[in-house]
């Protein structure tokens, strides 16, 4: 058994490729733990950032600066009574959030956090991802129907129509990115996610900057479609509070409702990681080809440690500025512990970075690169997460027919045009 475990460590293939179920399972667990931590962090960041946009403080009471708020919410939702409406279709009502969750999480099996850091590198990576994300619509449609009342029905119809129409635009934008992958020396593009990032690496350019306007337009379309796909910000017709109460999840409460929220956040992270992989060069650190001298590698490998150090410093600043009232003593201690933790991680990362630099091929070096890949990937995804929150704070909501009009009359033609032009430009150059 141990060789089964150790034999994989040497290989540079993803567990799926290497057919190694054990490590695939480990990767799956790591990714799902990572995503849930990300969802918890996202919950806190969204509430605090939104609050600061709106000149208010956001959650401050539960834990220092509201840090324990997500846990409090999770606990509350678990303890809340889970009401199933009497008229509702029991089985379908129970299954709906699961379909949503299933769709949101199966996408992660294909997302590459590094050249070999993905659960499995299917050669139909993108196709699989689009397919599974279209399954998410089923969850919503069925949830709306199962609640058996006016508003959820209309909410479900609206959001599924919206997701279906934006999926088309999203698909076409993705295709134009894939067309770009095929322009490397071998001439044959690839659908596999790791292949796409490697294509960007070989071509030495992020696809967002390739054939300058085209890549950017395709990226723009994907960015808009992705917001609509997850029912967020200006396109959140489904849960437009002011009109249809709360859209398809009106009748849900307690843990079942939180599954929908979990699915929504997971879908957000999944969709933005697709965008990062396709257009922003996945796990590559910025300027891989220009500044590839070892010194630059070292500097960039310090970044993870520095960011965690900065976070620790901010947390420490927080403890210093905490008012001296006795009520805040516990919060001050809490924050200090949190700062200490962050500081510890920062130290660890810095040590690995230094160690990795000296021994060029040892375990430390591999580990250092691994951290670097994951760090840059997560950094880019978090930029998108911030955009989601920013949209929610500033934009009012589109009306449903305007939303569909944009989906079909604006996004679709542009994405088709970009696809055709990219193909032509690709053939010429």
């Amino acid at each position: 058994m141990p060789n089964f475990i150790m034999s994989y460590l040497g290989s540079t293939l993803t567990p799926g490729q290497a057919g190694n179920q054990f490590w695939a399972l480990i990767y799956v667990l790591i990714i799902f733990a990572g995503v849930s931590v990300a969802v918890i962090a996202m919950n806190w960041i969204e509430r605090k950032a939104l609050a600061h946009f709106q000149i208010r403080l956001g959650p401050m009471r539960v834990g220092p600066h509201g840090l324990l708020q997500p846990f409090a919410d999770a606990l509350k939702l678990m303890l809340k009574e889970d009401i199933i409406p009497s008229e509702a279709d029991q089985f379908v009502f129970w299954v709906a959030p699961l379909i949503g969750l299933l769709a949101a999480f199966t996408v992660y099996t294909v997302i590459p956090f590094g050249p070999s850091q993905a659960v499995s590198d299917m050669n139909i990576g993108i196709l699989f991802m689009l397919g599974v994300s279209s399954l998410g619509v089923l969850g919503i449609v069925v949830a709306g129907w199962a609640s058996n009342s006016h508003y959820p029905l209309i909410g479900a119809l609206r959001s599924s129509a919206q997701m279906v129409s934006y999926e088309v635009a999203m698909g076409l934008a993705v295709v134009s990115a894939i067309v770009m992958t095929s322009l490397n020396s071998t001439g044959t593009g690839t659908l596999s996610m790791i292949g796409i990032v490697q294509a960007q690496q070989q071509q030495g350019v992020w696809f967002i900057f390739k054939f300058f306007p085209l890549g950017f337009i395709a990226f723009g379309i994907f960015a808009i479609a992705m917001v609509a796909e997850t029912n967020r910000a200006p396109f959140d017709m489904a849960e437009a509070e002011s009109e249809l109460t709360a859209g398809y999840h009106t009748e849900y409460s307690g843990l079942r409702w939180s599954l929908f929220m979990l699915a929504e956040y997971a879908a957000m992270i999944a969709v933005s990681s697709i965008a990062v992989t396709l257009w922003l060069g996945g796990w590559m650190r910025p300027f891989p080809n220009l500044l590839h001298a070892p010194a630059w590698d070292f500097i960039f490998s310090l970044f993870p440690g520095l960011t965690f150090g900065a976070l620790a410093a901010i947390a420490l600043l927080g403890t210093v500025r905490m008012p001296s009232h006795s009520f805040f003593k516990i919060q001050r201690v809490g924050l200090a512990v949190f700062a200490g933790l962050l500081g510890l991680i920062a130290l660890l990362l810095l040590v690995i970075a230094v160690a990795g630099r000296s021994a060029d091929s040892g375990l430390a070096a591999r580990f250092n690169d691994g951290i670097g890949y994951v760090y840059w990937f997560v950094l880019k995804v978090s930029v998108f997460m911030y955009l989601f929150i920013w949209y929610r704070a500033t934009w009012p909501r589109y009306r449903f027919d305007q939303l569909m009009k944009i989906g079909w009359k604006v996004m679709l033609p542009i994405s088709l045009g970009v696809l055709v032009v990219t193909a032509i430009v690709g053939v010429i150059f």
């Binding site: 939104l50 946009f53 709106q54 000149i55 208010r56 006016h150 200006p234 959140d236 437009a240 509070e241 002011s242 009109e243 249809l244 929610r392 704070a393 500033t394 934009w395 009012p396 909501r397 589109y398 009306r399 449903f400 027919d401 305007q402």
Partner: protein, 383 residues
Amino acid sequence: MNDRLDPMSNLDLDAPDTYLDSNELIINMGPQHPATHGVLRVILKLDGEKVLGTECVIGYLHRGVEKIAENRTYTMFNPYVDRMDYVAAVSNGLGYCEAVEKLLNVEAPARAKYIRVILTELNRIASHQLWLGTHALDIGAMTPLFYTFRDREEILKIFEKYCGARLTTHAFRIGGCQYETYAGFEKDVKNFLTFVAPKIDEYETLLTTNRIWLERTKNVGVISAADAIALGVTGPVLRASGVKWDLRKAQPYAAYADFDFEIPIGENGDTYDRYLVRMAEMRQSLRIIEQAVNGIPEGPIMGKVPKVIKPPVGEIYHSIEAPKGELGYFIVSDGSTQPYRIRVRPPSFVNLQALDIMVRGLLVADVIAVIGTLDIVLGEVDR
């Protein structure tokens, strides 16, 4: 309660044979609905998403103010007036006091008039700020709500310092003002003027050129000038349709004749024009307050009004420009200390009547926007 159009009646199971034609859906919006600004119930007849017709069911907040008036003396009725349009309580009080003063043929002293103008215009800004915050929230923009309420707080502080109350202020008395302005009144108002002017620009940057805001408000809920006049619509809704009419200019009352300010009007009477008109009105109010605070005369604040007010027999009608429109008082006096009949002409009640023709053919999301842009307060609609 009442057997109006029962919302569930249309979902009868023996649907027409052909499955394709969708039957009309009757949706009940309110009275407990986040976007109906109080207890308004609108029954919408929908074909899919399009609104075929609406019927407003009101009266949930009816307290019978006019019946109470017949059993109160003139001074006792004064606080009730604030409870009607509780968002613009100060202008309600101004309207009532001036009506009774006209009945008594008494003139409030100049200083009282200036104080009244300052407080009423501050109240107009506060009312428009509350309108903007809730209207933007209904259309989905969360942030303006917090900005407008932060700035509105400054006005409410001034009210509280002056007359002890923030919302239902009961600031004026028949014949003038009860309280002399507190020590730092002019300074506070001046600070407020410099504080809020850039803030209104802040709202504008957030919304005026916001593509989605334009998309949601441009030619939504259009009402022509002729329809507006026929339906008796007044205030910013009328001015947005292009009718240049403001009681403060047409029939000046209090000290409005001394100030110069423009009346902003719109062209095609849609939700966006009403938004622009109200934003411009806020700026005009700032100008009025500035002139009033600089030119406030010295002198008494209370006219010679008898202790017990017994107006002579007769009836008069007096109206002022409240933030929502023309707020009128028709008082019939029979010579006793209690009014024989007080009829309040509520601008929100009459403006709400225009909802039906403004909303026909629009979508459900627009109904919310139009209710928001009419800026109705149910306390005034139901009285």
